[in-house]
Symmetry: C2
Subunit: 197 residues, 2 copies
């Protein structure tokens, strides 16, 4: 027998990460109860992303335009570039409201063992941006793990010939955390990175 439309919606929703059958069912019945326009706002948003998403020509953020909304925003400081691994990382930094420069997405991190060599990343494009523009600071915000660290070090070496200052986001204890539960590596980094107080 053909699957019903509700069963079908439930099945489709379980494709999403972290959405099990039970949650999918709750979502499906919620969608059923939503005003038509609201529910279709969701489906339209999905279609638009699939139809129109592409990489920003400048920074490789996701956008529907040639250039993303951050790169095309005249009030963003173009002299500081925050380098991240993935477009989603931009949202995290933006949410922190602690950076008003622009970004550069590498679209991955170095991992030669997995075939992720420098040419697979947007490293060359970053160097070109630094070369062509008067960039004062490059903040390396790759992940605080082996691959991210290796990537940061690799990029730092390539940036040495330029006058731009190269910085790395700080390692340390998470705010609201408890020293008791900090792992040794983090605590060691937090002590090494101690600051005058």
């Amino acid at each position: 027998m053909k699957q019903g439309i509700i069963e079908n919606l439930i099945t489709e929703l379980t494709r999403l990460p972290g959405i099990g059958r039970r949650t999918a069912q709750r979502l499906a019945f919620f969608i059923l109860s939503m005003p038509d326009e609201e529910a279709k706002g969701i489906s339209r948003a999905i279609d638009e992303v699939k139809d129109n998403a592409r990489f920003c020509r400048e920074c490789f953020n996701i956008t529907e335009n040639e250039v993303c909304s951050i790169c095309s925003n005249p009030s963003r400081d173009k002299s500081r570039i925050c380098v991240v691994e993935e477009p989603s990382n931009i949202f995290v930094v933006e949410r922190s409201k602690s950076f008003d420069g622009v970004y550069h997405v590498l679209l991955g991190s170095l991992s030669p063992i997995d075939g992720m060599t420098p040419d697979r990343l947007k490293i060359h494009e970053l160097i070109e941006r630094v070369r062509k523009n008067s960039v004062q600071e490059v903040i390396l915000a790759t992940n605080p793990n082996t691959k991210g660290e290796m990537t940061a070090q690799y990029v730092r070496e390539l940036l040495k010939p330029f006058s731009a200052k190269v910085t790395r986001i700080a390692y340390g204890l998470p705010i609201g955390g408890d020293i008791e539960f900090a792992d040794e590596a983090t605590l060691s980094k937090a002590i090494q990175g101690r600051r005058d107080f």
Copy 2:
């Protein structure tokens, strides 16, 4: 400035229950990475539900047809009707694989204080089904709370003139639970409902 397509998808997804900004962001980037056909399967499923969902003529389950897949399934036992409050409850009972009869959805429960009087529910339609068909058992599976209990009692009274047996799903300790954590009302019902062993 116009919101970007990813930001828009994130905003749209936060309309769903239990989906905060962080989860919506994770989902949006996952959708972005999905094959086109898979992602559009989700949006199509949403549209189909919004465009085609209606109530089954027999039992008021959600369906895209005149009669739902359960009512039109010849292998379901039409002589036993399980009465539930909402279409979503049918999924829960179906998942338990403990019932092969048919359903009747009341589309709510009695709550005179909120204006939910018997005429707002599909109670009349249930009585008519019992009157017209040779129904042997009506299982009242309304919620185990005040409104559900009131609804069950009301329906039971109306069914008294008929020969159909009227039953109520059992109250008791949830399987896998711990007596230590059972609330007094549940424990009291579990003791009242004790069975030979």
